[in-house]
């Protein structure tokens, strides 16, 4: 196989792609951190009042929020990178500001794209799901959904979403 078949580029942060009946926006990078352990204590310390969201729950328009990954793990999303990496009293924090790329899909075909990329939606306390073949954290926006995918997979997933939109 010619290795140069993988020519699609990772999306540039802030750009918007117009797909068939929907748009795909690559949100600009903000702050994010993986936190594990006593999530309530971590949130109280880092982002008091921030909600802990499960699968496809609506993320707030402004302000920090956390996407639960597992019982004792979540991705805290903030406006800017946090410090405080390492071990704290019962919880651990690692900077993951650029580990995930947030892809915002909105428009009439957003639901079809979602159906093409993940198992049928059923409420789950974990926001992590297999999305387009890779693990991703999914939340809902006012106009569609946001998939946070590992940065190294973003080119592939955007390409896949484009293919789905073209053929849906």
């Amino acid at each position: 196989m010619d290795d140069r078949i993988w020519t699609t580029q990772a999306p540039t942060p802030g750009t918007t792609l117009t797909l068939r009946q929907c748009t795909l926006e690559c949100l600009p990078p903000q702050g994010a951190a993986l936190m594990s352990g006593a999530l309530d204590r971590a949130l109280a310390c880092l982002a008091p009042g921030a909600p802990l969201l499960g699968l496809l729950e609506t993320q707030p328009a402004t302000g920090p929020f956390a996407l639960r990954i597992a019982r004792d793990r979540a991705l805290l999303c903030t406006a800017a990178p946090l410090g405080q990496q390492g071990w704290h009293d019962g919880w651990a924090l690692s900077a993951a500001d650029d580990a995930y790329v947030a892809l915002h899909v909105s428009g009439p075909a957003a639901a079809d794209l979602q159906a093409a990329c993940m198992a049928p939606y059923q409420a789950s306390p974990s926001a992590m799901v297999k999305f387009a073949g890779q693990y991703a954290l999914l939340s809902r926006s006012a106009t569609g959904f946001i998939a946070r995918v590992e940065a190294a997979h973003s080119a592939e997933i955007v390409h896949y979403l484009q293919m789905v939109a073209d053929n849906i």
Binding site: D3, W6, A10, W87, A116, A152, H159, V164, I168
Partner: protein, 949 residues
């Protein structure tokens, strides 16, 4: 040429829109709305294909997925798709149909001579004959002759089928009367219903048989059902075949769309109702495979929907009431119809039909198509024979889901045993051969409120019809795979009386129609031959797919670049701009070398890196943070080399073993703080290393005191290696002269800032030279690249690809796990025996290191090789004795030409290799025995002086 188009019948076709197509090169015409089968039937050609084994001429039989004969390779708009069924394929302008298994055409297939040799080719012929003569000799020829359809890579269909997932309250499979009743009952109660049917419209057999429901035309009920389903949030999918029932309530459906790509649905439902109808059985008489012999139900289907009339002089042989409306409709359409019923007690004869009660069809006459028939010894002139041997409920999906069957004598069929599959089966699929009963069953299965929809049509009367072993001539049981009644008898004689053995011995039911029209006859014949009942004889196992599904549909969009795509570097655009040739390494697309001439580029890059400085992108190296008071203990347990003694700000090389003691991964662990480590796993092992750590964390440790975070994707890591590495970093502003970072010792690590960004600097080396790994968050990758590249230019350094890195590490004897190790390599095989002999604490894989096998002195061990040749030894070549007999002592694992040393270098795993230092061995490859001398793995700077620049 017996089929013809009725001047007014056929509400599916648009006579104002003629469509041209071709069959085996012959131009033909149909109409918009035709199926390929209806267009061919009306256009007249009868021989549409050839049978699999004897190449006998075959024509259209059915009207849906049960069709065994009319299968074509289809080309349209430059794309080709093999083995398409004429019955389920809509006619489109410009279609070029080519018959399968024919040379050169269905009409003039020269392999038809096989039929002359039929008496020498009974069932089991291949197994007996070709084994005795040596199967390998015959196999290529047999394979060339066998197989249906041709794959044509030049006209490969595009990968355009998206796979969609859906969940609903009720999934109704089949939109005939029972399915409609079920869907409406559920939708009326507000349940989300998905109603699927493989036909182009709702209604099932109502579409050609007609009928009234609740005193109104059936179509009103169908429309009301569709409206109710849609209003309740459900979906109605026509042209959609539910082709597989899988574990855990998962179903797959293939939706065919006009002027749009197909869709592949993965469905789950709270409740499933199967209303897939029934398939008409053939009848068994001599020459019952001739073109011009059709299912009676199919003939009515083509007449009513498409105005395609099967023939002009039609003999309809039946044993049930359902054929009477067929005879009436054909007579009304203008055909001469003779109705031969095996029963003495029959309904009244339809007007204009010659009726023969108590008559049995025993033979069809004709060479390439039907010309006449023998009924009760009377020769009857007929260009078409329609048959109805009863109905077989379509229970495939019930059985795929694990359901069992029971024999129901009243309907002469096997029907689903309730409660054995996670679905309810209703209507004809459940043996309910009558409109009123089908409606009632559908309504009840969906827990419908109020009375079921009403209909007045009576249930059918039918007589059991079976193959008759006393009849002379060949009676075809499986037309697609050329299985006759005689073959079934032969199987029984030879002891293959179990249905699964019968299937494999004769190939009965193994064709692409999955034996829909064949299996019942096969097992009925076997039951009769062995004196068992049909229930005792049983059925073969039903497996997906229900109908052949194009692989393009199952594969979906995952083809080409979307098939197993690698991870991508943040700096890929910059690498491409510099002329990098990218390859996949450990699941990442990484620069292999820069330029166009690989051999020259790789050598040049490796030399520059040794002489000045080489820069490479090491971002894929794992960055797994292990954090917490128990972090050191977790790493000690999971690693072969203990890490608890490592001081903060230092790094240490180590291994991670599998439980079997095999080297699973190697890499450097950085200790950033007393309770914070970074495990730098090799790029292809990040996920598995993380999994081992996570499993041990959860199983063995107080899991609240240690956590594992994989943040590989957060960081861009660029490595500067070579004598000028430190100078490069100073020039790029990464190192300030006199700073702590500038004085960083080998295996030192420091966290600091660069241009306001977090920066991690680790002085670790995979090349043996002074090297720095510089890591910044991805958003700063471009800035770091720019700064380093500018400094590189002034120092005469180079960007180097992974191929050059491979040379540099092999010169030092540094291994690559998976390349220089295999599935039996333990750490002491690589010369790392310290922890094994000294550690007293338990660690992952420890016990396996002390088995008798692990302690064998002649285990394969890592060594280097020196060859007198100027060219590198072939990687993978066997190490053999220098002379004498050839037996493998090991193999070459890595081999390169070292531009810095000016000679080839190689690493190898050799039995007891460390005891063979200085000895000459043979290196055997492709019949040639070369010589090499065993040496230490490290070919360059064994004292490690270059590490300090």
């Amino acid at each position: 040429m017996s089929g013809w188009r009725h001047p007014s019948m056929g509400h599916m076709i648009d006579r104002t829109s003629p469509i041209s197509f071709s069959f085996d090169g012959t131009p033909l015409q149909g109409f918009q709305g035709d199926s390929v089968a209806s267009a061919l039937l009306a256009a007249g050609p009868r021989v549409l294909g050839r049978s699999f084994k004897y190449h006998r001429p075959r024509g259209l039989w059915g009207m849906a997925g049960e069709e065994p004969n009319a299968i074509f390779d289809v080309q349209e708009q430059g794309l080709g798709c093999p083995n398409q069924r004429a019955t389920t394929l809509p006619l489109r302008a410009g279609m070029a149909l080519r018959s399968v298994n024919t040379r050169p055409s269905a009409q003039g297939d020269w392999l038809g001579v096989m039929d002359w040799a039929q008496r020498f080719l009974p069932a089991g012929f291949y197994y007996k004959t070709f084994m005795a003569l040596g199967w390998m000799r015959w196999e290529p020829m047999i394979r060339r002759m066998a197989g249906l359809g041709r794959l044509d890579p030049a006209h490969m269909p595009a990968a355009t089928t998206p796979a969609l997932n859906a969940l609903c309250d009720l999934l109704v499979i089949g939109a005939g009367p029972a399915g409609l009743a079920a869907a409406k009952a559920a939708a009326d109660q507000g349940r989300v219903v998905w109603l699927l049917d493989e036909a182009t419209a709702l209604g099932g057999s109502l579409r050609w048989r007609g009928g009234e429901i609740n005193g109104a035309p059936w179509a009103e009920f169908a429309n009301a059902t569709e409206t109710a389903v849609l209003q309740a949030g459900g979906r109605v999918l026509t042209d959609t075949t539910l082709w597989g029932a899988f574990d855990h309530g998962s179903y797959a459906a293939w939706q065919r769309r006009a002027n749009a790509p197909d869709r592949h649905w993965r469905l789950r439902a709270q409740q499933v109702i199967l209303a897939a109808g029934a398939i008409e059985r053939p009848m068994w008489f001599a020459n019952n495979d001739l073109p011009g012999i059709l299912s009676a139900e199919a003939a009515l289907h083509y007449l009513v929907l498409y105005g395609a009339v099967a023939g002009r002089r039609i003999l309809l042989a039946t044993g049930n009431d359902a054929s009477y409306p067929v005879a009436a409709a054909l007579a009304q359409a203008g055909a001469q119809v003779i109705l031969a019923d095996t029963r003495q007690q029959t309904p009244p004869a339809p007007q204009g039909v010659r009726h023969m009660p108590g008559a049995t069809l025993s033979r069809a006459h004709g060479s390439r198509a039907v010309g006449a028939a023998t009924v009760d010894g009377h020769y009857i002139d007929a260009d078409t024979i329609l048959v109805s041997g009863g109905y077989t409920p379509s229970v495939h999906l019930h059985c795929q889901a694990g359901g069992k069957l029971d024999w129901a004598p009243a309907c002469d069929a096997l029907v689903p045993r309730p409660g054995t599959a996670p679905m309810a089966t209703v209507g004809a699929a459940n043996g309910a051969f009558g409109l009123a009963l089908a409606l009632a069953q559908g309504h009840a299965a969906a827990q419908g409120a109020g009375p079921a929809p009403q209909a007045t049509a009576p249930a059918w009367g039918l007589a059991a019809i079976r193959p008759n072993p006393q009849l002379r001539g060949r009676q075809w049981i499986d037309p697609q795979n050329d299985v006759t009644l005689k073959d079934v008898k032969l199987a029984a004689q030879e002891g293959y009386s179990a249905v699964e053995h019968l299937k494999r011995y004769t190939t009965l039911g193994m064709a692409t129609d999955q034996g829909r029209s064949a299996n019942f006859a096969g097992l009925a014949a076997m039951a009769a031959l062995t004196g068992r009942s049909i229930a005792q004889t049983g059925t073969t196992t039903y497996r997906p797919p229900f109908v052949p599904v194009p692989l393009g549909v199952i594969g979906g969009l995952r083809r080409g670049s979307a098939f197993d795509p690698p991870k991508r570097l943040a700096l890929e655009p910059q690498h491409r701009e510099m002329g990098a040739r990218l390859r996949e390494y450990g699941g990442w697309l990484r620069p292999a070398f820069y330029g166009t001439d690989e051999a020259r580029a790789v050598q040049s890059e490796a030399l520059i890196a040794r002489k000045t400085v080489g820069l490479y992108d090491a971002s894929p190296l794992g960055k797994i943070e292990v954090i917490g008071p128990n972090a050191a203990a977790l790493l000690d347990f999971c690693g072969y080399v203990p890490m608890s003694s490592l001081k903060p700000g230092r790094a240490r090389y180590g291994f991670m073993l599998a439980e079997s003691g095999i080297v699973h991964d190697d890499g450097v662990v950085l200790r950033l703080d007393t309770d914070r480590f970074v495990v730098s796993a090799s790029s292809s092992h990040v996920a598995s290393v993380r999994m081992i750590l996570e499993e041990a964390r959860q199983d063995r440790f107080a899991s609240k005191d240690v956590f594992v975070h994989d943040i590989t994707c957060n960081w861009c890591t660029l490595t500067a290696s070579g004598p000028a590495a430190r100078a490069l970093l100073v020039q790029a502003g990464v190192l300030a002269p006199g700073s702590a970072a500038h004085a960083l010792p080998h295996m030192g690590v420091i966290e600091s800032q660069w241009q306001g960004a977090p920066l991690r600097l680790a002085r670790v080396s995979f090349t043996g030279d002074c090297a720095f790994e510089i890591s910044v968050p991805l958003r700063h990758a471009s800035a770091l690249y720019t700064a380093l590249d500018a400094a590189r230019t002034t120092l005469g350094g180079a960007w180097i690809g992974l191929e050059a890195v491979m040379i540099l590490r092999a010169e030092k004897g540094y291994i690559l796990v998976g390349k220089d190790t295999d599935g039996v390599t333990m750490p002491h095989d690589l010369g790392w025996s310290g922890p094994r002999s000294k550690r007293q604490d338990p660690y992952f894989g420890d016990r396996a290191l002390f088995t008798a096998e692990a302690q064998r002195p002649d285990r394969r061990q890592l060594v280097g090789l020196v060859t007198p040749q100027h060219t590198p030894l072939p990687t993978g070549a066997h190490i053999v004795p220098n002379s004498g007999d050839l037996h493998s002592l090991g193999f070459v694992t890595s081999s390169y030409y070292s531009p810095f040393l000016g000679r080839p270098i190689a690493l190898a795993m050799v039995n007891g290799g460390r005891d063979l230092m200085g000895e000459t061995v043979g290196v055997f490859h492709l019949g040639e025995r070369m010589q090499a001398q065993i040496c230490a793995p490290c070919a360059l700077d064994p004292k490690g002086e270059r590490l300090n620049g």
